[in-house]
Every structure is written in C-alpha cells, then in structure tokens.
C-alpha cells in the first residue's frame, strides 16, 4: 500500500460563473521515500491538488474521488481529525516564507508550536527540539536565531525556518508548493539540496509542486504534467523529458529560454491561453491550443495511453 493514493480526484469550485471542475479525474501514488513532482502553469490545478490533500480547499468546494493517506480516507475526515494530521503527519512548505510565518512570534516559538500541540512536549523540551531542527536545516547561529523574529532573517533563512516547522513532528509526507520560487538561484539550489537530503534521511514522501521544469529535473523521480485540471502526462522524470510525449509537455519544454541560445532567437510559443474553468472544453483541455489537434480531440477527454514503462499520456496524437 502506497503512502498516498489519489484516485479519480475531482474538485468542483464555486466561481463567479457557477460551479466548475478545477480537477478532473486526477490519480497518482506516492510511496514513502520517493519524490513526485506536479508541474504546470497557473490554473492547471497543481495547487488545488495540494490543498485537497490537506483539506484546505476554499469554502464551497466539492470533492469527489478518493485520497488515501497511509490507508486512511482523507476526503471524508472531519476538520478536528484533519488538524491532527496537518503539521504532524503531513508537513507543508509554501512559496512565500514571509507570509507563511507569523511576524509577531519568534522563530523558536513557531517551530515549537507543532511540537507542543501534536507531541505534547513541554516548553523546554520543545525549545531544545526547535534548536536541533534549526541546526538540521543548517541555519547559521541557530541558538541565537531561536529568539529572532521573521523580519530579522533573509528570504532563504526564513524558508529554512518554514522547512524546520514542516519537519518538526517527523511527517510521513512533505508537501512543498513552489518552495523556492521566491528565492535567488544560489539560495534555491541550497534549499532544494536541503529538501532532497532531508527526504532521503527521513524516508518521507515528497510532493513537490513547481512551474519550473529544470527544478523538477533536479529534484523528483516521477513527474506529473498537469493542464486544465487533468494529468496530461506522467512518468519517470528522465523518461518524460526524453520522450515529451504530450504536445503540451513538448510545448512547455520548447518555450523555455535556456542558456546558450543565440541572441535574438525566437522562442517557440504555445498560442492562446489557458481556458478559464467555466470555458473548459468537453474534450481534451489543450485542444484549442494544440497544433496536432483533430476533431476527435474535442469530442471526449482522451484516454491515458502507455508510452513506456510507468509512463503514460492522455493524448490521441502522441508526439513520436
């Protein structure tokens, strides 16, 4: 049994234009000690997937399908029970460390909070553990930093504190939503290396959410490419990049500026834009922007087609 089993997850959100599906039939597994990436652009459903896992969807959202975490169905759990999982068995790291931290509380207190709450540690024991955690995330001068406030730290240092909080209770699953997007490249490298190392040492499952293909290539073993609320391609990271089976994956890949392109090279683009939830077509969500589209694409959502070992794409016109 996998640590996390998501089956046919469907999330319906209330929008100003009525109720519409933000996720349609998303399925994946994540084992302990493994790393999985969700990649896609704004509005593809990657953050909604993370919020659904943690029971943090906006009011009025409806969830269908199944999310099993360590054998337990999460979609039907009540809020008090979810609270005992969040920050305890499931750790979270968000994009913007300044908004994830409380500016009025010291770093030490914020790291100690989940330990006091979930583990019932005493004040002094929690503080000692907080110090150990700060050392583990390699924050320099950890002992002095315990009594620092978030504004006294740099962006990279804050993100280390957020990671320390996420790891405090020794979670089985770490969900990191764009953890390095707000950071400089050199700091990004340090934080990603740290996350990888911690996941390896503790045998956690890592669900990494990012829009950055290169970050994914460096960090995760398995990749799900999302578009319009569906997983359009999934497979081992190296195989996905080698094959680029779905036209969207291929388009995303080709649109990246990359070092070494001659000055003035025109980047290939994907015409049009991501449709709004209310305008999502009945067939393939990418049909209106795809240069390989045929009539059948618009009729019904394409089925998943195997293109390699544990590698599939939802496309009728898979790229050779």
């Amino acid at each position: 049994m996998a640590l996390l089993e998501v089956r046919d997850l469907r999330v319906t959100l209330q929008t100003s234009r009525g109720a519409h599906d933000a996720l349609r039939a998303v399925s994946f597994d994540l084992e302990r000690g493994h790393t999985l990436g969700l990649i896609g652009e704004s509005g593809c459903g990657k953050s909604i997937t993370a919020l659904a896992l943690m029971g943090l969807l906006p009011d009025g959202a409806r969830v269908a399908g199944s999310i099993r975490f360590d054998g337990r169905e999460l979609t039907t759990l009540d809020e008090p029970t979810l609270c005992t999982l969040r920050g305890h068995r499931i750790g979270m790291v968000f994009q913007e460390p300044m908004t994830a931290l409380n500016p009025l509380h010291t770093v030490g207190r914020q790291i100690a909070e989940p330990l006091r709450l979930h583990k019932g540690l005493s004040r002094s024991a929690a503080r000692a553990e907080a110090l150990r955690l700060l050392e583990r995330v390699q924050l320099p001068q950890a002992a002095q930093r315990l009594s620092a406030y978030p504004h006294q730290l740099s962006g990279g240092q804050r993100q280390r504190v957020v990671i320390a909080i996420a790891l405090a209770c020794g979670p089985d699953l770490l969900v990191a939503d764009e953890p390095t997007t707000a950071l400089d490249v050199t700091i990004q490298r340090e934080v990603l290396d740290l996350i990888k190392e911690l996941v390896r040492e503790d045998g956690m499952g890592l669900l990494l959410i990012s829009h950055n293909l290169a970050v994914m290539a460096d960090t995760v073993e398995r990749l799900l490419v999302m578009y319009g609320g569906t997983v359009v391609e999934s497979g081992p990271t190296a195989a996905v990049f080698q094959r680029l089976a779905h036209p969207y994956t291929r388009g995303l890949f080709a649109a990246r500026p990359r070092l070494g392109l001659p000055r003035g090279t025109r980047l290939s683009t994907i015409p049009g834009r991501v449709p709004a939830l209310a305008d999502m077509p009945p067939g393939c969500p990418f049909a209106d922007r795809c240069d390989r589209v045929i009539d059948a694409c618009r009729a019904a959502p394409p089925p998943a087609v195997a293109v390699g070992a544990l590698h599939e794409a939802r496309c009728l016109r898979i790229c050779e």
């Binding site: 490249v185 293909l213 290169a214 890949f253 500026p257 090279t265 025109r266």
Partner: protein
C-alpha cells in the same frame, strides 16, 4: 563609434537605516558602490544579480526616480540630475519603465485607455483624440485590439496585462525602456510570447532596453551585453556568450553553477529538442 544613449558613471547610492540609538549616527547601506557602463541606442544591456545586489536601485536611478549619492546618469549626454522639473518632465518621454508584476503595476479602477494613454496626457498634455489614436497604435504594436481600450485590467490574463504595461511604456515612443524583471511573474509559455514581443519591438522601433533579471537564460537570449552586479559592484561585464560560457569572477561562476536543470537526462533532452 557614436555617442552612447545612456552613460552611467561611477554611480553610488547610500540609504540611511533607522538609528539603533539616539547617540549614535544612523547606519548606512551602500546599495550601489560605483557602477559605470554605457548603452548604445537599439541595444540591450542585461543586469543580473541576486536580491540586494543593487539591480532595482540602479533602475530607479536611471529613471531619475531617485537621486544618486554621487556619480552621474547621462541620457544623450545630459546629466538627468542637472535638469529642472520642466526639463526632466520633457526628458521623461524618452524614458519608460516596465515593472515585474502586471497585477500590481496596473490600476484596477482605470480602463486600459486611461492607463496606456496616461504618459501622453501627463508628459505632453495630449488631447483626447490623440490619446485614443496613439493608445490604439500602442495596443496594436503589442498584439492587442483597439476594442480592448475600454476594458479593465481584471479582464486580462497575466501575459496580456504585461502587454498592456509594455504598451504604456511604448506610447511616448521612448528611446530607453527600463524593464525590471518583466517576465519573471509570467508562466513559461506566456513568458516566451512576451520575450518574443520585446525583441520584435526592438527590431521595429529601435528601442533600447536596460533589462534587469535574475534569470540568466532570459538575459542571454535578449541582451547584447551583460553586467553582473554583486553587493553594489559590477563584478563582471561582457558579451553574454563569453560571460556565460567562460565566467571569470567567482560570483558569476557560483551563479551559473546554481542554475537548475544540469543533470544529464535534462541536458540531453535539451540537445534534442522537438
């Protein structure tokens, strides 16, 4: 060689920090510590560096939004700091700026027409008819329709909003556009559209870009020359091909080493693109 459009000479900027104690002098931070470069008309100069390197301070000084502590910014040989208010206003028609986040750089309560035409109204006192005509031209140049003039920013996607911000910068027919992280808030596929557009506009109108970015690949693509800023100093300067393939300064080397996506599977895929 013709005279440069922009010359920045030994530019420094100090900011005073809050005092720790009444009895001690206020501490200062040196945001720019003597930066010099020249930029010729129709070319693009990239400025790369990390948070706190002085990139955005440099942008504000070039735009004459702030005064330098010492040193000069010369546009067409004229020191912007020597101009009086009226002359500076006149000169500002040659200088425009595009900001990082098109969600906060457009006023949500103003129509696209009001936003795009504002520089004309403010800097030149243009009449309504001229404003509308020129705004429609500017929108056409960035690939939007004249019908969009009556709409509000929330009706557009991020990429379209950045096009509107670029149209607003173009409307005065500027010589120099300072673009501070113009694509870093955009999705990858949209980023490519905006980068292509900025290059087209340069070919078409001969605009000059001071292009500030933390993304080395973006700068490599659109710039003729690059300066690497670190703690307020230019640590390396050169042609992007050479600078990125054979970086000399340890800081540039560190920046390049941190660029993600250097593992073999990803690099091989890069070498055999679709």
């Amino acid at each position: 060689m013709t005279a440069p459009l922009l010359r920045v000479d030994a530019l420094t900027k100090r900011y005073r920090l809050p005092r720790h104690s009444l009895l001690q002098p206020a501490p200062e931070v040196l945001a720019l510590a003597g930066v010099s470069f020249t930029l010729h008309a129709g070319k693009s100069l990239g400025v790369v560096g990390e948070s706190g390197s002085g990139k955005s301070t440099l942008a504000r000084l070039v735009m004459a939004l702030e005064a330098p502590s010492s040193g000069q910014v010369l546009l067409d040989g004229v020191d912007l700091q020597t101009l009086d208010a009226a002359a500076l206003r006149q000169t500002r028609t040659k200088l425009q700026m595009v900001f990082q986040d098109p969600f906060s750089s457009l006023d949500p309560r103003r129509t696209v027409l009001q936003t795009v035409a504002e520089p004309l109204a403010v800097l030149r006192g243009a009449g309504k008819a001229e404003q509308r005509e020129r705004a429609a031209e500017a929108l056409a140049a960035v690939g939007l329709a004249a019908a969009d003039l009556q709409k509000y920013p929330h009706e557009f996607s991020g990429g379209q909003r950045q096009r509107i911000a670029i149209a607003r910068a173009l409307i005065t027919r500027p010589r120099l556009i300072v673009a501070d992280e113009p694509v870093s808030a955009l999705d990858v596929s949209v980023q490519a559209q905006v980068l292509n557009l900025m290059q087209d506009l340069q070919d078409q109108f001969g605009v000059t870009y001071l292009f500030i970015s933390h993304d080395l690949a973006v700068v490599d693509l659109v710039c003729d020359e690059v300066i690497v800023l670190h703690q307020g100093l230019v640590v390396e300067q050169g042609h992007p091909d050479q600078l990125f393939s054979r970086p000399q300064h340890p800081y540039t080397q560190r920046l390049l080493a941190a660029v993600p996506g250097q593992n073999p599977a990803f690099r091989n895929a890069l070498e055999h693109p679709a």
